[in-house]
């Protein structure tokens, strides 16, 4: 029997922002499979024109409520690049610590609240809490810890205040940092429980692979998060400033978010892309978890992004402990550099939870923006999601038992695996 | 080496590293301890006001709780806040008290949601009172506007229970509309009491209203005042006592024989939070009952 499918998901749930899935299969033949972003446009780049450099980071944080720290970091980095500012070491460490904390809170949120319910056949984490309170208790502990670190280091969890052009506004109190180090230490036990839990769920990861190009920062000595060269699994390497050659944004009529491409029709960014490009730089503790799930580069199953996030959580936790130790050793270290505005252009690339993020600004000599451009991870993923969706539907509609519900779940899970940040991609 | 700080003379047997434990000092502790009280009855008076009959739970505390007409308590709805409320019942009832409360803001609204049996806290009684004993042997005018009837009820009960100690007694009460009249079910009782002149007036009558119409000062028209042997207690909004007391003064009543109850924001009842401060005067300690002469002398009192 040939299947007929008709799926129309208007405003997909458990993702950030507004996107639609449309699938039509007639007598086993794929007619249409679409991923459309219908989020309202906000014109951030247009608003940025004429704004003072001190406004840019605080403003662009508002592009996204989940990765506001990442946006702020990319923004100040672009400005510092334009002005030729070198930030103090301690500031760089604080920024990276804030970045890790944001990665952790975002990944935990995604894994437990957005993705896990699908694997357990539940509508949401509220139901999960009723059924399995211990799991949610662990999730809340882990997420709360990550948010606490953001609060301390960046001044606030959402929309940071302490990340300024030139460095970080202040060094957190040493005692408070050390208290978090303690908690991170203790969270390792929770994390191994979580690894066990997801191991049990891993057989439910759909068997689907499509050869894809993966783009991320390229680490040299460390698994990369802030700045550096750009690389793809197809062998393209570019500098941070050449990011446009890496993204090739273009506008499509149906979408308010743009699409991107590189060596092929589309490419993917995110945790999976980072691991595919930098597997060797993971901390051994994280690499072991990757092995446990059989995650080896280059992995082409988009659903494995969830596993990649878990691996990164392990990595970031260990790295945060290291950073706190280093910071606590010198609590009086300066955290701000002098900032002298000058005319010029700069780019900041930062690996936010959902993939690589670029900000680029041009300044006049008074430190006001003349041109701004932000390229968001989900923008880079959109085309890939769309193409994945076509292949996914094609593959699974061959199954004579396929139903609308099953296909809808597969499609929704696919999109959620990318953890799209839709309002962010339309900014 | 460890340091042994010697404490102040209050407690001789501890030192600074063994801190002085004020939690065990009962006298001080009672300063902000509340009596737990149970709401025994709730009487709906109007859309906005309810009468809460409450009873201090502990027998001994209930017996010990005494107050004088005009005093108030800090009524606590745990978790939502504490508000000053005049005691609106007879002083002879001790720890069985009545509070007439208008829905005004957070605490009062939450309280209006409460059911019979709910437990609240009360601290007090606080503040000054109407000098009832001093009034013995005189005529008394008890005048209330609107919610002013609530604080007026305590002196009213006192006068009724001690009717022999007073000469002429007038109760004058006015509200804006008939549906705002409080304690309607008690008017009959009051007017039946031997020789009490109860008069009620509303500003804006409705179809059901058969009584008098006008401002409360109108009720004074048919009253004769003997300045040397009359006292007046006036409760209501500040504008009202400006008019009523002014009128009484014209009629010859000296200002120090008129008593009013002032309202200010309060958060402690103990002269600490300063919210009720008028110049150098704390409404919660030096008031709420003032004679009208003091009120006129307080800067920005009304």
């Amino acid at each position: 029997m040939k299947v007929n499918l008709n799926i129309d998901v208007h405003h997909l749930t458990r993702v950030e922002g507004h996107g639609n899935i449309k699938v039509r299969v007639e007598a086993g033949k794929l007619r249409e499979a679409r991923w459309d972003v219908v989020e309202t446009p906000r014109y951030f780049e247009a608003i940025l024109k004429g704004k003072h450099y001190s406004t840019a980071g605080i403003f662009t944080a508002r592009i996204c409520g989940i990765c506001s720290i990442g946006h702020c970091l990319a923004s100040v980095r672009a400005t510092e690049d334009a002005f030729g500012v070198r930030i103090p070491d301690a500031a760089a460490k604080l920024r990276l610590l804030a970045k890790h904390a944001e990665t952790l809170q975002s990944h935990w949120l995604h894994l437990f609240f957005l993705a896990a319910p699908d694997f357990l056949g539940l509508p949401d984490a509220i139901a999960l809490r009723k059924k399995n309170p211990e799991i949610v208790a662990i999730a809340l502990r882990l997420k709360g810890l990550a948010n606490g670190i953001c609060d301390l280091v960046a001044g606030r969890t959402t929309h940071p205040v302490s990340i300024l052009v030139g460095g970080m506004a202040r060094m957190p109190e040493r005692a408070k940092l050390l208290a978090f180090r303690d908690q991170l230490d203790r969270s390792l036990e929770d994390i191994s429980a979580v690894v066990g839990l997801f191991r049990n769920l891993s057989p439910k990861i759909p068997d689907f692979s499509r050869e894809t190009e993966f783009v991320s920062l390229k680490g040299v000595n460390e698994y990369p998060f802030i700045g550096g060269d750009l690389a793809s699994t197809d062998g393209v390497v570019k500098t941070e400033r050449e990011y446009k050659a890496m993204t090739n944004e273009y506008v499509t009529p149906q979408n308010t978010s743009k699409w991107c491409k590189l060596s092929r029709d589309a490419f993917a960014v995110g945790a999976l892309a980072r691991i595919n490009n930098n597997h060797g730089l993971l901390r051994p503790e994280a690499a072991r978890v990757a092995d446990l799930f059989g995650l080896r580069p280059v992995n082409h199953n988009p659903y494995m992004n969830n596993v990649a996030q878990l691996v990164e959580c392990v990595h970031c936790t260990w790295e945060s402990i290291r950073l706190i130790d280093e910071l606590a050793a010198d609590p009086a270290a300066p955290t701000m550099a002098e900032v002298e505005p000058r005319a010029g252009e700069g780019v900041g690339a930062v690996e936010v939870p959902r993939g690589i993020l670029y900000h680029q600004y041009a300044y006049d000599k008074t430190g006001r923006i003349t041109k701004a451009n932000c390229v968001i991870p989900t923008t880079q993923n959109n085309a890939n999601i769309h193409i994945d969706l076509n292949h996914l539907v094609k593959k699974f509609s061959a199954d004579a038992n396929m139903t609308d519900e099953k296909m809808e779940l597969l499609c929704s899970m696919l999109v959620r695996a990318y953890d799209p940040c839709i309002s962010c991609s339309v900014h | 080496m460890s340091i042994e700080f010697q404490p102040y003379d209050i407690i001789k047997d501890t030192d600074m590293t063994q801190p002085i434990d004020f939690n065990q000092r009962n006298k001080l502790k009672s300063v902000d301890r509340a009596f737990k009280a149970e709401i025994t009855n709730i009487i709906r008076l109007t859309d906005m006001e309810k009468l809460f009959q409450i009873r201090i739970v502990d027998d001994a505390e209930r017996q010990r709780f005494t107050f004088l007409p005009g005093q108030f308590v800090m009524l606590q709805v745990p978790g939502y806040g504490e508000v000053p409320i005049s005691i609106s019942s007879s002083p002879s009832a001790k720890g069985h008290i009545e509070l007439c409360i208008r829905k005004a803001g957070v605490v009062t609204n939450v309280l209006h949601n409460a059911r019979r049996g709910a437990k609240v806290g009360i601290r007090g009684p606080f503040g000054t009172h109407f000098p009832m004993v001093q009034m013995h042997g005189s005529d008394v005018l008890l005048i209330a506007g609107g919610l002013g009837l609530a604080p007026l009820r305590a002196p009213m009960f006192y006068v009724i229970e001690n009717r022999v100690s007073f000469k002429d007694v007038h109760i004058l009460y006015g509200t804006r509309q008939p549906d705002q009249l409080l304690f309607r079910y008690q008017y009959e009782e009051w007017s039946l009491i031997d020789d009490i002149n109860l008069q009620i007036i509303v500003e804006r009558p409705d179809a059901t209203w058969a009584g008098r119409v006008g401002l409360i000062t109108k009720l004074l028209d048919n009253i004769t005042i003997h300045p040397e042997k009359t006292y007046a207690i006036v409760c209501g909004p500040p504008v009202m006592f400006k008019f009523v007391c002014g009128r009484l003064n014209q009629m010859g009543l000296p200002m120090h024989r008129m008593f009013v109850s002032l309202e200010r924001r309060m958060h402690c009842g103990m002269g600490k939070c300063c919210r009720c401060n008028i110049g150098s005067t704390y409404t919660c300690i030096d008031g709420p009952v003032f004679d009208y002469w003091s009120v006129m002398n307080l800067k920005e009192a009304i």
Partner: protein, 347 residues
């Protein structure tokens, strides 16, 4: 009063030993302002190096260690039909090091209201009695007018009081607790030269005051000038932000609010210091505000400080530290206001 000479090395030993058993709060430099002037706060310290006793003044007074900005007055536990209220007074001992005379005077003012008046505050007493105070003499601070109010010297209200004589401190002892503490380290009896140096130091300090404020007849003046244009002028500037009362060592007014937890199982009664300059200070339910304009609120603050308080406690509440004047963005400050009121009567 007893006096001893304490050499600075011994003083350091004393403080370092104290740190081992009690929390020590002392002036600490936290940064510099836009004009490069250092900013100090009284903060808990864990090493002697953090302490900067040569500070001029602090941005905040030390009152928060006695009447905290936020304080749980009581906690509740709720059951289905009933609740329990629990009151805890804080009583871990603490040492505050380096208070200036005006701040100690400030504490004496607070004592009057919170210990010696009707309804003493156990919350305050528990903190006050468990705090050991080590004061220190210093050069006058910019804008301070404590000498006009007589609060530049204190004869009690502390445990120890130090006057810097270069290599040693001339130490006044005002409590047996202070005496015992001092006996833990080496001290010396006061010699003639020490007394002479001490008196020289005192004289040098009292000659150094530059801000002059005439507080003569101020209570009376405030009554007479109740409707003065001085209030209108400064009132128009007031932002009603309440900063002045927060940094003031003697402002103690507050608001109370209560909280209940999301599971309705517990709650708290929380006191928050307030300010009479804030819009709703005297506003009651239903919206009536007894002091709706910034002008009347500002006037009220001065009226309470220099008139109302005098009436009850025989001295002004203000101790002349001028922290309110320094913190005020609008530049509202007591020397100017009092000066203008005095000028007004002379007109």
């Amino acid at each position: 009063m007893l006096f001893k000479i304490l050499y600075k090395d011994d003083f350091r030993t004393l403080i370092e030993t104290a740190m081992k058993s009690v929390e020590v709060v002392a002036p600490k430099k936290v940064g510099s302002n836009a004009r490069g002037k250092p900013i100090h706060h009284y903060l808990p310290v864990t090493s002697f190096e953090e302490i900067d006793l040569s500070y001029e003044t602090t941005e905040y007074s030390a009152k928060t260690y006695f009447i905290p900005y936020l304080e749980n007055l009581a906690n509740y536990r709720f059951g289905d039909e009933d609740w329990e209220k629990e009151i805890q007074y804080r009583f871990e001992p603490r040492m505050i090091l380096g208070l200036h005379a005006c701040d100690i005077s400030g504490l004496l003012r607070l004592d009057k209201v919170l210990i010696h008046d009707k309804f003493p505050s156990p919350y305050y007493i528990a903190r006050r009695k468990n705090t050991l105070i080590v004061g220190i003499d210093h050069e006058p601070c910019e804008g301070g007018f404590c000498h006009a109010l007589g609060t530049n010297v204190v004869s009690h209200g502390f445990d120890l009081f130090l006057t810097d004589l270069g290599d040693r401190y001339f130490t006044a002892i005002d409590s047996d607790r202070g005496y015992i503490l001092l006996n833990k380290v080496l001290t010396h009896d006061v010699k003639e030269k020490d007394t002479k140096d001490y008196l020289d130091a005192r004289r040098r300090i009292s000659d150094a005051y530059t801000t002059h404020v005439n507080v003569h007849n101020l209570p009376n003046l405030l009554d007479i000038e109740f409707e003065s244009d001085v209030w209108k002028k400064w009132g128009a500037k007031c932002l009603s932000c309440g900063s002045c009362a927060q940094v003031c060592p003697t402002c103690y007014c507050y608001g109370v609010s209560e909280r209940v937890s999301m599971d309705w199982a517990s709650g708290a009664k929380v006191k928050q210091l307030y300010s009479c300059n804030l819009v709703d200070f005297a506003q009651v339910a239903g919206g009536h505000n007894f002091r709706p304009e910034a002008t009347t609120r500002l006037k009220y603050r001065y009226y309470h400080q220099h008139r109302g308080f005098v009436e009850i406690y025989d001295e002004p509440k203000c101790v002349g530290c001028n922290r309110c004047g320094r913190t005020c963005l609008a530049g509202i400050n007591p020397p100017d206001i009092i000066g203008e009121l005095q000028a007004e009567v002379r007109k």
